[in-house]
Amino acid sequence: MIHFDKVSKRYSNATALDSVDFSITPGEFISVVGHSGAGKTTLLRMLLIEEKPSEGSVFYESVDVHALDPREIPNYRKKIGIVSQDFRLLPYKTAYENVAFAMEVAGKTDTEIESDVPEVLELVDLGDKVWNFPHELSGGEKQRVAIARAIVNQPDIIVADEPTGNLDPLNTHEIVEILKKVNDMGTTVILTTHNKGVIDALSRRVITMEHGKIIRDDKSGRYIL
């Protein structure tokens, strides 16, 4: 489904990714672990076409995504739901509107939006914060809005970049449970994290990175660094 073909990313004074080569099959729950600066986030940014690889290609269903026409990119991104450490919510939109925005972009009708948004916010346990703005929400709540936004269009892939980085253990557990539930329904999940507990409890595939290279790829891995 996704294939990284010898992807490298070099900045002027550092190598963020060094010839990274791996594949992800549909329905996998894959965790990427590593120290800060190991290249986890850069890896995801390559997948989301946020940055250009210095070498190599990223394939999604045998299409080189970096060769896509700029007009094609929005459609590609609609297949991916994103959750990130800094939430990336739209600050002037309420929780409801943030989720609804993703549906509007995907061309959903008003009826669909009116029925799905409250449902998905209920699913992430935010039924009572629907009309709050992001600055009125706690970190855990913001992250749940981001997850609601990521899953509402039933994307093929969820990319979660250190989603629990700013959260307490309870919120962390809940977020991971939601991701597992989404994965059980057939969505591919790519998770990066620092949290040993999360990885060990998941016992799914783990890719370990160091200095921009993949140093370990275990089918049912633990957090070893």
Partner: protein, 314 residues
């Protein structure tokens, strides 16, 4: 879907305008100043045009006839003058009327009236007052009159004098002064307008710069360019509309207050009345320039963030 999208974009634009209140306020304030300058340009050129045309109206040619001139000859000249395409109007003042006007003008001047009484007959000649369509045409009318007198060498000269050549220098200089000051004034206001347009553009660019992360998030969620740009364009439109309305409201008391002063100083034009009479026109100019400025600034400012394929801002 297209209509739904347009409706959503417009609604989002309105919401952003309202929720992003402080940024909207800053943009509206700057745009208000710009539109104020543009509005002043309109008033300034109206004032200058009015005083120039008023001055031009005062320019005319008087042909004074000798006292012995026969009315028939004068009328003949009048009709040949009226036949000229340059001539707007020719009015005849008979000797009797001229005398009556003279008496009226000097009624408090006892000596003059007394001197007039001493004379047996009316010392004043008849005259023709000629006004042209354009100031520049007086020259050719004056030439026509010269030729007219010269062409009748043999006959008795009926024309006593033509006052054009005496007034010409003063008229020319005054017209040049007015045209010069009009040009200078417009140049100054234009420079101010350009400066405030640049400031407006920069303010809106900064406002959108503060939204660059938001733009990236929208793109990451999969919004296409039109969907990202749309609400910003709507906001720009609102900046323009709101500023134009504010400026029109501010101009109302201001022009009323300045109306009397402009009427006295520039002669004739009361900008308070002018504003009321031309409200539709001035308001359209303000709204149109406001909207064009707001929309264009937003368009170009957002484009900067949309033309790049990759989201990385660095």
């Amino acid at each position: 879907m297209l209509l739904t999208n347009i409706r959503r974009i417009i609604r989002t634009g309105f919401l952003n305008f309202w929720r992003n209140g402080f940024v909207s306020l800053a943009s509206v304030l700057i745009l208000t100043i710009t539109l104020f300058v543009i509005g002043s340009l309109v008033f300034f050129s109206a004032i200058m045009n009015a005083s120039l045309s008023q001055l031009k109206d005062k320019v005319d040619i008087n042909v004074y006839f000798v006292t012995e001139a026969l009315e028939d000859n004068i009328f003949a000249l009048q009709s040949s003058l009226e036949a000229l395409p340059e001539v707007k109007e020719v009015s005849y003042t008979s000797r009797e009327v001229a005398l009556a006007e003279f008496r009226e003008r000097h009624k408090n001047d006892f000596l003059t009236i007394q001197a007039l009484e001493e004379l047996d007959e009316n010392p004043l000649g008849a005259s023709l007052n000629i006004s042209a369509q354009e100031t520049s045409q007086y020259e050719s009318i004056a030439h026509f009159l010269d030729n007219y007198s010269e062409g009748r060498e043999g006959e008795v000269q009926i024309v006593d004098k033509i006052n054009y050549y005496q007034n010409k220098v003063a008229i020319d200089r005054l017209a040049a002064v007015i045209e010069g000051s009009e040009r200078l004034g417009i140049a100054i206001v234009l420079v101010l307008a350009v400066i405030s347009i640049l400031i407006t553009f920069n303010t809106i660019r900064l406002a959108i710069y503060s939204s660059r992360e938001e733009i990236n998030v929208m793109r990451l969620v999969g919004a296409d360019d039109k969907y990202v740009r749309g609400p910003f364009i709507v906001e720009g439109f609102l900046y323009g509309l709101v500023s134009a309305i504010i400026v029109s409201l501010v101009f109302y008391p201001l022009t009323l207050w300045l109306g009397g002063a402009t009427e006295q100083f520039f002669g004739g034009l009361n900008i308070g009345k002018y504003y009321q009479e031309h409200f539709g026109q001035v308001f359209s100019i303000l709204v149109l320039s406001g909207i064009v400025l707001g929309v264009a600034s937003s368009f170009f400012a957002v484009r900067r963030y949309l033309t790049k394929k990759y989201l990385n801002n660095s």
